[in-house]
Symmetry: C2
Subunit: 108 residues, 2 copies
DNA sequence: TCCTAATTTCGCGTAATTACGAAATATGAA
DNA sequence: TTCATATTTCGTAATTACGCGAAATTAGGA
């Protein structure tokens, strides 16, 4: 994980509506949710929604795939693991015992 | 974890210098690092550093404690766990099997 | 092909964030 | 108390993010 990508991801999540969108997608699961339905559930105007989804996708937090007429968005949960690993990299200078109690996600 | 606090935390991390500071503190470990030393290591001006540390602290990402003349800053690793739990709350609608492969941090 | 639902792009005004010098403040040591 | 180190506050100017209406675009279905 590169620092600039991590910043893009944190920036994307640092916004009320985008955080709502991402958490909704997490709840909805890996099958994905159509863009319009996200907008309907969270009451977001199409142009605003489009921008937010693009931001989330650019940050690697969601994936999209067209299914017939609609574009399904799904959360990329590996991205969350990647962020945590980036944040906790070389934790406590590598001294595991000093890091006791912290859950480091497994390598993906 | 409340949404506004999560946004404060993500905003705090969504900045080059602050991300550098937090990751440095993670590497340095729980004993803490004096503010001035952070500034020296990362080449940050005092007034700029002060603002960034205040932002990180407001977001709950670091703690501070005065030791003699200096203020020691340490990372609050529980905050990272808290953010991950918040992001993945009710993952896949609670269907564990659909969430396979995701590391949910233990409750703190 | 033509139509239509689904999504994106553009442009605007508004609001928030940034770095940092200078000055103020706090605190421990002598 | 007096001094020096450590840190914060304040003001300013430049930059960037924001929502959303209107118009453009895309792609599936008939």
């Amino acid at each position: 994980m590169k620092q600039t990508l991590a910043i893009d991801a944190f920036s994307a999540l640092a916004h009320d509506t985008r955080l709502d969108i991402f958490r909704l997608l997490v709840k909805r699961g890996p099958m994905g949710t159509p863009a319009m339905e996200i907008g309907r559930l969270l009451d977001i105007k199409p142009s605003t929604l489009s921008g937010h989804l693009a931001t989330l996708k650019r940050a690697g937090l969601v994936s999209s795939e067209r299914q017939h007429r609609k574009i399904q968005y799904a959360p990329r949960l590996e991205a969350v693991n990647g962020l945590v690993r980036f944040l906790l990299e070389d934790c406590c200078g590598g001294d595991e015992s000093a890091c006791a109690g912290i859950d480091l996600p497994a390598q993906t």
